[in-house]
């Protein structure tokens, strides 16, 4: 392992992380829920009366963030090198896995770990390990 110091952005990472944490805190304190994106989005496919509007509002907020950002400044660098086929496969796996696993990077990784939930800590270790392994296989074993 070598650290890519030129790509390392500690300040924006910590500040961005703190903003994400503030959003999760806001949601817990005001709505009493976990700000878990996969569960909030996925729950829309199981619509129940009185359980729809807040989900749509949360999703709309996420989608609106880059739109509002663009009114004031240029968006930060976003680079997607992955081809469309792999992206579709990735999306499918993320969509299935997060629902069976009951959460994603936000629900388990941020909220669950912040609550010291054993389930979320196990889930976070599992998806991180699988992510590390997948990138290792894709970058260092398959495409040399």
């Amino acid at each position: 392992m070598s650290i890519a110091w030129n790509a390392f952005t500690p300040a924006s990472a910590l500040i961005g992380g703190a903003i994400i944490g503030a959003a999760a805190a806001l949601f817990a304190v005001l709505n009493g829920r976990i700000a878990g994106v996969s569960g909030i989005l996925g729950g829309l496919l199981r619509p129940q009366a009185g359980d729809i509007a807040w989900r749509i509002a949360f999703v709309a907020g996420l989608v609106a963030a880059p739109l509002a950002w663009r009114l004031l400044a240029a968006l930060p660098e976003i680079r997607v090198d992955t081809n469309y086929f792999t992206l579709a496969a990735a999306g499918l796996l993320v969509g299935i896995g997060t629902r069976y696993g009951g959460g994603c990077t936000s629900g388990h990784g941020v909220c669950g770990v912040a609550r010291l939930s054993p389930r979320s800590i196990v889930a976070t270790l599992a998806f991180m390990a699988a992510g590390f392994a997948t990138v290792y296989v894709a970058r260092h074993l398959i495409s040399q």
Binding site: M1, S2, A4, A13, I15, G17, A18, I19, I20, G21, A24, A25, L26, A28, L30, N31, G32, I34, V37, G39, L41, A53, A57, G61, L62, A65, P66, A68, P76, I78, R79, V80, T82, Y84, A89, A90, G91, L92, L93, V94, G95, I96, G97, T98, R99, Y100, G101, G102, G103, C104, V110, C111, A114, R115, F127, A130, G131, T134, R139, H140
Partner: protein, 149 residues
């Protein structure tokens, strides 16, 4: 009121994802590439988020109502099962393939990125596959399933 709070949370969350670099798949993959030139930034994103979130969750732990008077719906303690682990592993493989998890998928779609839209649509299709099998299981006789959220 709760709907406005939801929108605000999603919005602030999205801004945080943009600031942190989580919306940039190249950066996320740089974090997941331990054997290559490793970019440790995203570990700090998580550290920052957990540090700020932890106080709020500790504050809510004993409460039954939120500051807006809503019932607290934070999940209680549940066991660790194969469903949790296998699902998370499958998610991790998908995350490693593209460097995009659910929050950033929505923000990427909001930037108008065609690739972001492809991930979002296939992700929702994945949610649909899960719901299809869950519904079949609910219809079939057998022990009641605990709903995951």
């Amino acid at each position: 009121m709760y709907t406005a709070a939801s929108f605000t949370t999603g919005f602030v969350f999205g801004l945080g994802l943009l600031v942190s670099g989580m919306v940039n798949p190249a950066k996320v993959l740089g974090f997941l590439d331990l054997a290559g030139a490793w970019d440790p930034s995203l570990a700090l994103v998580m550290a920052g988020a957990v540090a700020v979130g932890a106080g709020a969750f500790a504050f809510m732990k004993k409460r039954t109502r939120t500051l807006l008077g809503a019932p607290v719906l934070l999940p209680g303690a549940r066991g660790i099962d194969s469903r949790l682990v296998l699902g998370s592993l499958v998610f991790g493989v998908g995350w490693g393939l593209a460097g995009i998890c659910p929050g950033p998928a929505l923000v990427l779609a909001g930037t108008g990125s065609a690739k972001g839209l492809v991930v979002l649509v296939s992700m929702i299709a994945g949610n649909g596959i899960f719901e299809f099998f869950e519904k079949r299981k609910r219809v079939a006789p057998g022990p009641a399933q605990v709903r995951s959220s």
